[in-house]
Amino acid sequence: MNGGPTSAQPNAASIAIDVKGLTKSFGGREVVHDLSMQVKRGEIYGFLGPNGSGKTTTIRILCGLLTPDSGEGTCLGYDIRRDADKIKRKVGYMTQRFSLYQDLSVRENLEFVARLYGMPDARGAARDMIARIGLTGREEQLAGELSGGWKQRLALGACTLPNPQLLLLDEPTAGVDPKARRDFWNEIHALAAEGLTVLVSTHYMDEAERCHEIAYIAYGHLLAHGTVDEVIAKSALSTWTVTGEDFNGLMAELAGKPGVDMAAPFGTSLHVSGRDKAALESAIAPYRGNPKWHWQPSEPSLEDVFIDLMGRSKDNFQG
């Protein structure tokens, strides 16, 4: 709080996650490369990136489930290498794959977690949580029999039960219907309002836009971070939106052209973007006269930026 915006030495009280140079390899393949990041307390921090980009690995390093090959840092003020046990007491980790006991009921799962964290009234804590996540009436149902949306709520309930200070959510809304997704995000915002820090990985752009800050990670490299507006601004991308018919052919023709860094369909329109505004304009000039299409300059969306980043990182890191 009193460190100021330019603080190179962050105040531990206002920073939940502060790591530098994290590197992790599996079987000779580097999954996380020299990754540094800071997450402020009380913030919802979005973690974006393609599949296999190292998001899960980074999250696992943060909660002590993996040891980094190199790099250091703190999580809630505790050293991620030495104080894994202390971190585990204060961090709730929601795994990508449902990892509670399928053959235990909702209530039994929550009571197990409460007891494991040594909560004085495990039954009471479980009962309160069941009410909070709206599973009243399903207490005795086996977790394995719940639908995807309910499972995800139960998992969130289980990892918030021991009153953690930091939530690590690994693609919590994958495979969940839009209504359940919206409810879930309302809950996350409510938790953040209570002072919880939330690090959440996702593939959904609308979810990214609900984060206070986001980071984009690809092939283990953290490529961009900041607020959504900052990330878009930093990309310096110019975008044109094309509407009309049959732009499959147009997309293929534009894709290789100098100046066009990205051409991708968005719903019923085509987004054509480039980092060099002039080069992009000369590239699309021959097509703008065609009456089949309607060209309009537009703001790049977060998705444009990410697809562009993804394309660039592929060039840089995949050889």
Binding site: L65, T67, V91, F98, S99, L100, L116
Partner: protein, 387 residues
Amino acid sequence: MSATDTIRNGQDREPAFGFWRRSYAMLVKEFIQLRRDRVSFAMIIIIPVMQLLLFGFAINTTPRHLPTAVLLQEDTDLGRSILKAMENTSYFRFTREVHTVEQLDELLQSGKVLFGVEIPRGFERAVRRGDKPALLVAADATDPVASGTALGTLGTLVQSALAHDLHIGDPPEMPFEIRAHARYNPAAESRLNIVPGLVGTILTMTMLIFTALSVTREIERGTMESLLSMPIKPVEVMFGKIIPYVMVGFIQAGLIIGIGVLLFGVPVLGSLTLLGLLTTLFITTNLSIGYTFSTIVQNQLQAMQLSMMFFLPSILLSGFMFPFAGMPVWAQYIGEGLPLTHFIRIVRAIMLKGAAMPNLQYDTIALAALMLFAMTIAVTRFRRTLD
């Protein structure tokens, strides 16, 4: 692709040899998976080879060189000749010399020797006087297989001892008699021997598998990731997983012993409390070993196979099926490393011989040592991270 092609071509027909193609596809997949699972692949070789070697080399149903204790009340030529003749049968091996009857009884009760020979004071004089004195050979007959053949040789022993070593002339009748005393199981009923052994064997099989699957199941179901992210220590996981099965094992043991006593008339001569305590120790030892396997293997199949690999020598080398004393020394060393060996001695001694704690110290300590050894490995092997 081929499915859409079929539809486009308007053909609903099955592809030719569909049955064989699909079976072949499945077969190829299974072979690939089998090859990937190194441990399972190794077991395919190890289990039959191990079984063959154990049956071929280690098992001996007419055991020789059985440990025998001697109580020499007098030191005479005749006595020495008789002992020599006994050793010449190759069934007896004199491993201990004692000085009192109590010592002899204790050695038999604790199972350190299978036979005890007593040459009474004034034996030679009595023979020369023609009193036909008796020479006592006490046998631990809990395992009739182990003691039976050796006892059978005693009948002809007197003749050969006299013919070769004694200079008493050619007596018209036996100058002395050998009185064999088959202790603990005089009628040589094998069920008296098998039922106590079964307690240990059944417990080994069930306990091992319960815990061998416990950690791998958490890993395979994905619950390990959650568990590891919570503040729980390896020792706590282990105790939490072992203790419920101690109770299960206790119920099982009670069931087997109860049926043994009521249905098969097997006695429990010793203290039931002691039996219960040591059975609990044995159960915990097996659970710890199973749990250790669980921390080593990759999946549930491997866990089952490793349990199997442990169970096989347990049955063959523990003295449950075949006499322990008859095995070659190397097999006896392996046997000493198996909890079942020690428990079978304990349970037979308590149930059939009425043994008490002082007689069972060695086997109790061995069980406890094996348990602590397994637990230490399990706790150090338990992976606290997903690295």
